[in-house]
Subunit: 435 residues, 2 copies
Amino acid sequence: MSVRTLRVALLGCGVVGTEVVRLLRQQADDLAARTGARLELAGIAVRRADRKRDDDLDPALFSTDALGLATREDVDIVVEVIGGIEPARSLVLAAMEKGKAVVTANKALLANDGATVHGAARRYGADLYYEASVGGAIPLLRPLRESLAGDHVRRVLGIVNGTTNYILTRMEETGAGFADALDEALALGYAEADPTADVDGFDAAAKAAILAQLAFHTRVTAADVHREGITDVTAASVASARAMGCSVKLLAICERSDDGRSVGVRVHPAMIPRTHPLASVREAYNAVFVEAESAGRLMLYGAGAGGAPTASAVLGDIVAVSRNRLAGTRGPDESTYADLPVHPMGNAVTRYHVSLDVADKPGVLARVAEVFARHDVSIQQVWQDGRGDDAQLVIVTHRARDSALQATVLNLRALDVVRAVASIMRVEGEEAGRP
Amino acid sequence: MSVRTLRVALLGCGVVGTEVVRLLRQQADDLAARTGARLELAGIAVRRADRKRDDDLDPALFSTDALGLATREDVDIVVEVIGGIEPARSLVLAAMEKGKAVVTANKALLANDGATVHGAARRYGADLYYEASVGGAIPLLRPLRESLAGDHVRRVLGIVNGTTNYILTRMEETGAGFADALDEALALGYAEADPTADVDGFDAAAKAAILAQLAFHTRVTAADVHREGITDVTAASVASARAMGCSVKLLAICERSDDGRSVGVRVHPAMIPRTHPLASVREAYNAVFVEAESAGRLMLYGAGAGGAPTASAVLGDIVAVSRNRLAGTRGPDESTYADLPVHPMGNAVTRYHVSLDVADKPGVLARVAEVFARHDVSIQQVWQDGRGDDAQLVIVTHRARDSALQATVLNLRALDVVRAVASIMRVEGEEAGRP
């Protein structure tokens, strides 16, 4: 049997790109056996051609003309690992127009302008694979769009940002505050010099949009995602979570409304019971927990970032599009047939942990409880932490609408017996707070 | 766009089959939107046509002529959920010969005679999907054969049998012995009246063969798998594991040898550190932990059995083969190009926890240590449990060849200071036993 050759153009050669090159070369024989085609590197688009590269590589492979490379006649597969929206989008669109299969790790592009990119894939009959955009090497998108294609996903809870999970793990383990834990993450290379994208939840929100779209077969963009970061998580909140058997995690939550007619997508810190599988996801690891009607509870866990894990996911996609190309077919298009609206955060229904600095005198609980009752927010547990001037009243609610809880908090702030609302944190998972 | 119809024949209508029928009907519109074809039930082959069925179903769908149904002109997809080798094999082969796509949950058939079934799929150009054969709804086979297709899997550690994991969880939680925990599992329906297939490791061994073949691209059958069940696991072993920070799990282990030239596949109880992600897999849940060169450590977790989860996996495969059929293509063939021999258990390299009933007198440790040294088995830790006549000497070794450990144990039994070898259990995972 004669073995065909498929030619791969790589756009971007940073941490991930370098690993992709290494794997394409090191695994060449295995890849040929698994796809039925030799995968050959056609070229590598870089910003600066004069930078020192791996000595082994033919310098003629490098080019600063990304568009020329992406659309070159002899290229079959374009791998985009530049990141960001432009010029990545233009390059990917141009490649698809020329009939190339595209493999990308670009969460920002897919979450912010997925409609354009998916639309082009459909129009030009091009393959578009993007497993590496969420959760590094963890198989997430393929299970959601293929394995669970015959099931009905109810909810996806994900720890999809390694930096914030590392910080929260350290806060839990050492009792440190956010700033100290962030410093440690910076020192160890788990956080970038400008940590905004991670700690403010932008990275997680983009990934949540991609997961929600796959889970619910409806269009979701980053702008649809309610987003709160972890900068306001205090050592006291982490300690309080611990006292009620919970861990604090930055969760990406994608869920159907109870009536199934809309979806909600939110990223925020939350307490989850330590018995929940997600609570054991520590350090920079990522995991996505899926609740589906028939499949039940699934969790997919692994390294969510890094050059090698991300490159592994890219290679898996390269193998898939290669097989498709040899078979003269392509993978499934994006699926948005369900066409469900994304409801606002106020419609989210969950549980809350509220800490109040209160005056230590009789009647306080009655006044506070009355405010919750007025907004139909039912209290599950209440206890006092500390005594005298340091006393805090901790209230854990039953499930309530977010809008009702926010109105409750506004009213609590106005009560004379409440000196301050010390913290509000959502509680996810079934058993949290039960005695 | 006119929507095509694909017709599905169901062979077997037990717990899984009933759920498949329910999902095909309940999710009909979603499945049509996701595949591009209406999926219609062409017929259901059952052993006894007169048994009472779901009132909703047209009685004309039922037939005792499985072969007739599997090969009928108007059938596109054959779903086999009968289990066991015959008649399932003949039916599946006949269906593929007639060009049907086959979806099966049959681990016994694939693990014992995969060569015949995969060979027929290749010969007749038929699709053969079997995600439901291992780990229920957990996406395992698709990640191994597709997501990790560009990576190099080093080792797969799986908890792939829910019954034994339930029993071991109860033993750990309550201190019960094997017999009592089995009784509880029977009472709760987690074990079958004849629990042999589960507790003796046959079920896990079949799944291990399937996982190993996918992970290493080489032929592995159930007969290649070294198999030990959990019937000899004692409350004392579980307590001893606990004392060293470990849990006892029945593991299916598939690994490359250190030189990469052979693979080993084994199923046996083992101690793993409680910090290992697999240790938190409790009750009847399953999980598969994968170590790959680039992807690093991945874990896929979920309900490993049951009608609905297994049916979810079957439906995912039905969607996949439907999409293939509409595109005029088929999924990847089995991949056995690596053609690596399966090495015998004696070549396995791992760590061991050995408990000895010894005489409580000076010089015992020196005599025992000399036996280990003679076989080149290096001791990592040793301690004495209890005193006087009840004293046990516990030895945890560094990594050693299984053949060397077995020879050591033979020699230990012959020592006059050793009254009995109370237990030998392998220790998996990196950190176990470290202080």
